[in-house]
């Protein structure tokens, strides 16, 4: 009986997960410094199909993304950002890419 309820609940919750949000909002930190970084980070986020809006705040380093979860995930966005040289909590940029950043964009890596 309990097992049955649990199964039902899991089934329900997975179903709930499958119903994906077309305007999901995420906010996370992206490491960077300046206006150039801002353009680069936002451009990288927009390159992911399904990203509807991406705004990186220069002061707080927070990136606010709205994305269609049917088309992409927040991990895709982080990967795309790492690819152009910016670290996030989940995905780090390759050293070779980071090294090629403009001097003013060379943020302190954590």
């Amino acid at each position: 009986m309990i097992l049955g309820m649990m199964l039902l609940f899991v089934a329900l919750s997975t179903q709930a997960q499958e119903k994906k949000n077309k305007n999901a909002k995420y906010e996370f930190e992206v490491n960077g410094n300046c206006e150039q970084c801002q353009k680069r980070i936002q451009k990288a986020a927009f390159s992911v199909p399904g990203v509807k809006s991406a705004t990186w705040n220069i002061e707080s380093h927070q990136l606010t993304v709205f994305l269609n979860e049917e088309k992409c995930s927040v991990l895709d966005v982080k990967k795309a950002i790492a690819k152009v040289g910016h670290d996030t909590d989940g995905v780090k940029a390759e050293d070779s890419v980071y090294d090629k950043l403009h001097t003013c964009c060379k943020y302190e890596r954590k």
Partner: protein, 673 residues
């Protein structure tokens, strides 16, 4: 266990989600604050827009909107004519009917209010002004040709509880502005603006027997309500406004009660009453801050009763304007669009010397505007609208703005667009009633007073470069705009000094405008703004091709501002100086008049200087004194034929320079924060 965990996760996500919604205060309108600079030119905006902040508006006497462009080179302020005392503005060399003038994006100065409308918005009510050169946006309509001026009034939710401004000047003009504000609840706020001004005594500095500026009284009251709820995404504005304006001018001895309608003395009275009501409702979609819908409605009733000597002119306009607009994105915010519908209804009851020229205009239109922004160097706005108008017919209006940043701190812009409008020939040229000119409309087949609608294309390019000069900030801009008229309601004062002719353009009419700007921060707190402007505005008249009368071909502008450091309690000095030089101007043809009532073909060149000193005693109290036309230049003959005002050569409309000499003023501003 797993269940509880899941529930917890679910609960947590719901909580964090609701927190996020609270955090979204993106609903609040983006307003530019004037802490640092009075004039702001953006390197990233797609259109060639200058933002005039409230700080800039404090730099001049600036009693009303018409006078608030004195320190801004993009707009030329004409000298108020002896009759109305109202300053007319020009952009790219074209007068205000060719500019779309909106108040919070609702068309405000149009139709009957074209001549004096800008003087019906007190300067202290204004929060900021956006001036866009060139074609403008399709969202607000099809009428703009040379540019757009949008005024944002002070927002109740951001207003201070009390504001007082008192002003007095040596031309015996007095003003009082009081603002009251109350935050009714977390979401509702209301402001009450009360304005009164009066010119109480008669001035005749040039001894021609005529008042140099009119006696007048204006009472203006506005009540605004603002609602913004970031939780639901709803925003609302409600505005109610009433204005009553009275002017009297003419000969010193003119007494309206005794002399109106007679030839004892020449005189004029212009009385206007205006009522405005507008509402805005907007909704920003929850969880989708990039999508919104807005619905604007505006009703106005404008009633002008006036006479100019023996000429009687009455116009009453009742207008209704409605705009439904939907903003969203295509796949992401690099691709935005705005689409919607407009409806306009104008009922004119207009009488020119008792001849009834009343009409009803209405139009309905749909627009679509697409904005691409790569978030870096390149952006463009492509817009189009289709309208059906009972007099202008069905027509399409395309507009394009492109921006490109070729290298650092530089911006290149291009714009092109079409505009179409019905010229209100009498309302727009009513200053000509104050002359012995006869009015003749030579065409009869058109649908607006016998004339065809005006159609013009406007194209422009602009380049701005910011740089460092001796380590200080500097920038330079070059603009070139051209307006080509396909049809124009030509106002011809070149044919005869006893006539004004109106007819459809036969031949060519164009306006070229070139502007070179150079701005420099000389030392900290000392800023220089300079501009040179070249205008070539030519029209084929019946008697030949001439430059537009009363328009200088060359103009030079300079503004110097200096501020001391703000010391304890906000004490500060501010100094401001503006210099304008105007080259010779084509004057209306007066060659056939008797010798002593002739003017030369061109006016002389001259310069005008204004200055102001402001002393801030604290963040809540400041006083200012200033002078206009300090060099005391005034036009030699302001009223033509002034010795015989009912004779054939009488004309008050030819004003190319200040009529009144130097003028000094003082005022104070007090705030409760």
């Amino acid at each position: 266990m797993k269940k509880i965990l899941l529930l917890l996760v679910l609960l947590f996500s719901v909580i964090s989600f609701s927190q996020e919604t609270i955090k979204q205060d993106s609903l609040k309108t983006v307003t530019v604050e004037g802490k640092r600079r009075g004039l702001k030119k953006s390197l990233s905006g797609t259109a060639n827009t200058t933002v005039v902040t409230s700080k800039e508006l404090l730099k001049a006497a600036c009693c009303n909107l018409a006078e608030s462009f004195e320190t801004n080179p993009s707009i030329d302020v004409n000298f108020s004519d002896a009759l109305t005392g109202t300053k007319q503005i020009k952009m790219l060399g074209l007068t205000s009917p060719y500019i779309m003038i909106t108040e919070e994006n609702i068309p405000s100065v149009r139709g009957a209010s074209q001549a004096y409308g800008l003087s019906f918005t007190p300067g202290t009510w204004v929060e900021s002004i956006q001036i866009t050169k060139g074609a403008g946006s399709v969202v607000n309509g099809y009428e703009s040709i040379s540019g757009q001026i949008n005024t944002e009034l002070i927002k109740p939710l951001k207003d201070i509880p009390f504001y007082l401004n008192a002003y007095g000047s040596t031309d015996s003009r007095f003003e009082l502005n009081t603002h009251f504000n109350k935050k009714v609840s977390d979401y509702w706020a209301t402001s009450l603006f009360v304005h009164g001004n009066a010119r109480v005594s008669k001035n005749d500095m040039n001894d021609d027997g005529f008042l140099d500026n009119p006696l007048g009284r204006q009472f203006n009251i506005a009540n605004r309500w603002q609602y913004a709820n970031p939780d639901t995404g709803w925003v609302t504005f409600l505005n109610l406004r009433f204005m009553k304006d009275e002017k009297q001018t003419g000969q010193l001895n003119f007494d309206p009660n005794r002399d109106k309608g007679t030839t004892n003395y020449w005189g004029s009275e212009i009385n206007t009453e205006r009522l405005d009501f507008s509402s805005k409702v907007g909704y920003i979609f929850k969880d989708m801050p990039y999508q919104s819908i807005g619905f604007q409605n505006a009703f106005s009733s404008h009633n002008q009763e006036s006479y100019f000597g023996l000429n009687q002119y009455d116009i009453k306009q009742q207008s209704y304007y409605s705009n439904l607009i939907f903003n969203s994105i295509i796949s992401n915010t690099m691709h935005k669009f705005a689409t919607g519908l407009n409806f306009t209804y104008d009922k004119y009851a207009e009488f020119v010397n008792f001849a009834d020229v009343s009409r009803i205009d209405n139009s309905v239109g749909a627009f679509f505007e697409y904005t691409y922004d790569d978030g870096d160097k390149f952006s463009y706005i492509l817009g189009g609208r289709f309208d059906y108008h009972n007099r202008l017919g069905g027509f399409f209006t395309p507009r394009l703005h492109v921006k490109y940043n070729p290298w650092e701190k530089a911006v290149l812009r291009f714009s092109a667009g079409r505009g179409k409008r019905a010229a209100n020939i009498f309302a727009e040229n009513q200053n000509l009633f104050a002359s012995s000119r006869t009015f003749s409309v030579l065409d009869t087949n058109g649908k607006v007073y016998g004339l065809n609608p005006e159609i013009a294309w406007n194209y422009g390019i602009s380049f701005t470069q910011n740089f460092k000069l001796f380590g200080m900030n500097a920038d330079t801009t070059v603009d070139f705009y051209r307006t080509d008229f396909q049809n124009q309601a030509v106002v011809d004062v070149m044919n005869s000094p006893q006539q004004v002719l109106f007819y459809n353009l036969k031949g060519k009419s164009y306006a070229n405008s070139l502007q070179l700007d150079f701005n420099l921060e000389i030392i900290k707190h000392l800023n220089l703004r300079t501009a040179y402007k070249y205008y070539d505005i030519s029209t084929d008249y019946l008697s030949g091709s001439y430059q537009r009368p009363l328009q200088a071909k060359h103009r030079f502008f300079a503004n110097l501002e200096y501020e001391t450091h703000i010391v304890e309690k906000g004490k500060q000095w501010k100094f401001d100086y503006t210099f304008n030089w105007l080259g010779k101007q084509q004057l209306p043809n007066t060659a056939s008049n008797p010798h002593h009532d002739q003017l030369p073909e061109f006016s002389p060149s001259f310069s005008v200087m204004n200055a102001q000193i402001t002393r801030t005693f604290s963040s809540t109290f400041e006083m200012y004194i200033g002078g206009e036309n300090i060099g005391n230049y005034s036009q030699h003959k302001a009223v033509l034929g002034s010795d015989n005002p009912f004779g054939p050569t009488f004309d008050t409309s030819i004003v190319y320079a200040p009529v009144f000499g130097q003028m000094y003023y003082a005022g104070l501003r007090f705030k409760i924060k």
